[in-house]
Amino acid sequence: MSMTMTQKRNVFSVFRYFVLTIWLLIVAFPIFWMVSTSFKPDREWFSWPPVYITENATLQNYLTVWTDFNEYSTNEETKELGQYTQSLQRPWEALGNSTLIAGIATLLAVLFGSVLAYGVSRHQILSEKRMFQLLMLRMVPPIVLIAPISLWYRQIGLLDSIPGLVILYFLTSLPYAVWMSKSFIDEVPREMEHAAEILGASRWRTIWEVVLPLVRSGLVATFLFILILTWSEYLLALLLSKTDVLTLPIELSKYQGSTEGRVYGRQAALSVGITIPLVFVGLLIRKHLARGFSFGMVRR
């Protein structure tokens, strides 16, 4: 029996939605689990069969992580845990540090990266080979850089400091910034700039009035992409600054001990807190994101 084209198309459509739904479930489940766990009382963290949506929702995890971190837990059962974690937790300081470090490093990377990308796109200031070398920089496993960098950082006093991490994050995300913003700048036809110039606009005026508005969405997308990377960076932060300068991923890792295992509820509550700022930034700039990530905003 043969199917008509419409039938075939319908079957394909059903199949596509089926696959997409499965994929969505796989991707969304950890997020759901994180939010769900953050409201669970401690006895449900490990319970079997698992509790998907708790009937004993509590804010205790949030309170402990974000407000009572210097108090002993009132819950007798987790008193031990509270003791263990108590002296080390500085979530608000970590939030401040992360905001400062990721924010500044990302801004610098996008700023310098896009200027560099403009030069590469329009004046070939870096050869194709150099551009690839720049990208290869990202291929180096960070761990191999740790030893020389920490030695060097110790000498010049950048170890365990905010500028130390900002510089490192800025440098490691610069390749992404250059490559991503270049792809957006390449899309602005050269003739459009020439048109502005011959109509009397200066170079700066041309960039400001013609190029920048056309790549703005792309730069915003680049900004968010790099912000996500630096916001959640763990390894460099762990090894280059652990005592004085604490960032959120490091703070998160502290809710586990060698004997107690992971303190899931607390970690989940902290994770939700770490995620919210990124979601918030994403919502603020969402009109740019759809255009920026679709890589095709200039209609010719």
Binding site: P189, E191, A195, E197, I198, L199, R300
Partner: protein, 356 residues
């Protein structure tokens, strides 16, 4: 008064010579068309005049003063691009006043001039739209308006119509002509389309491989090509060009696999050797078979006023003749072809025209 002079203008990209010591003077108010196949250096020449490319050597003078080192915006030029290059994030009105804003013209003046020029190119109804909402033809009118409004002394047009369909192209071609009549400014127009060149130009500059091969009025170029290249480039349908050789066999003759033509008296001293015989389709005389050398008509293509007759030859390109549309011919019909001596073009083995 505005005159563009190019002296020994040269542009090299690495080892490639894009423009080879070009000399050209464009007079005030002239409509000049640079034409040639892609890669012939016409666009590079235009871009050097505009200031987007630095010449490797040579001088560009506008009104007598050298402008090689001036920024494009200081050269008193307007330019229209093939891609229109409208600013997609500004509406049509803002696109048009962009140049005036850069010149710090007052707001009132801006508005007045914008409406004036929109009227001139008939786009007043589009002012509030975004470029993305306009058709290709409308976009090119907007691009024209944006350039016109700044009142430059010279207009550079870089294949402005080549992205449009045939009907729009004809329409906007007429528009360009009208604007030139009305403004009496200098127009430098680049195209690879011989028909645009023929219809628009006061003077055509034919370029090939970075050099000017011929310069002259359209009719001069058409009726007096200096080489095989020019002869082949102009005319639609193209000139019939048959490769073969010239022989002295008592009298001067041209011979190829398909044709043997005895050459008129003025070519009696032609030197034997390889060469090309050319005749335009409209100059081929077709007559009923009458005991002479006949050949059979291949395809018959009636166009109304004229009819095109195609003949198979040994060469890849068919031989074409144009006859009056009122004559009736059919495929397979034997006819005799003759070539009036005054309309023959002969080219030597290197492609240069052989003159009597």
């Amino acid at each position: 008064m505005s005159r563009i002079e190019l002296t020994n203008l040269r542009k090299e990209y690495g080892n490639v010579v894009a423009v080879n010591d070009l000399n050209l003077t464009i007079e005030d108010g002239e409509f000049i068309v640079l034409v040639g196949p892609s890669g012939c250096g016409k666009t590079t020449t235009l871009r050097m005049i505009a200031g987007f490319e630095d010449p490797t050597a040579g001088e560009i003078r506008l009104d007598g003063s050298i402008v090689n080192d001036l920024e494009p915006r200081d050269r008193d030029l307007g330019m229209v691009f093939q891609s229109h290059a409208l600013f997609p994030h500004k509406n049509v009105a803002d696109n048009i006043v962009f140049g005036l804003r850069m010149q710090k013209v007052g707001k009132e003046e801006q508005r007045r001039k914008m409406h004036e020029v929109a009227e001139l190119v008939r786009i007043s109804h589009l002012l509030a739209k975004m470029p993305g909402q306009c058709s290709g033809g409308e976009s090119q009118r907007i691009a024209l308006a944006r350039t016109l409004v700044t009142e430059p002394s010279n207009f550079l047009l870089d294949e402005p119509l080549s992205s449009l369909d045939a009907k729009l192209r004809r329409e906007l071609r007429a528009e360009c002509d009208r604007l030139h009549e009305q403004l009496q400014k200098t127009f430098v127009y680049v195209t690879h389309d011989q028909e645009e060149a023929m219809t628009l130009a006061d003077r055509i500059v034919v370029m090939d491989a970075g050099e000017i091969v011929q310069m002259g009025s359209p009719i001069d170029i058409y009726s007096n090509p200096v080489s095989y290249f020019v002869a082949d480039f102009f005319g639609n349908p193209a000139m019939n060009l048959i490769e073969g050789e010239f022989v002295q066999n008592g009298s001067a003759e041209f011979r190829s696999d398909s044709f043997t033509v005895s050459l008129p008296e003025k070519y009696k001293d032609i030197s034997p050797g390889k060469g090309t015989f050319g005749i335009r389709p409209e100059n081929v005389q077709v007559s009923k078979a009458n005991g002479g050398d006949t050949r059979n008509i291949g395809l018959v293509e009636p166009l109304g006023k004229d009819t095109l007759l195609y003949f198979e030859t040994a060469a890849e390109r068919p031989f074409v003749a144009i006859v009056e549309g009122t004559e009736s011919h059919s495929s397979g019909e034997p006819v005799e072809l003759s070539f009036p001596g005054d309309n023959m073009f002969l080219f030597d083995g290197t492609g240069d025209r052989i003159r009597a």
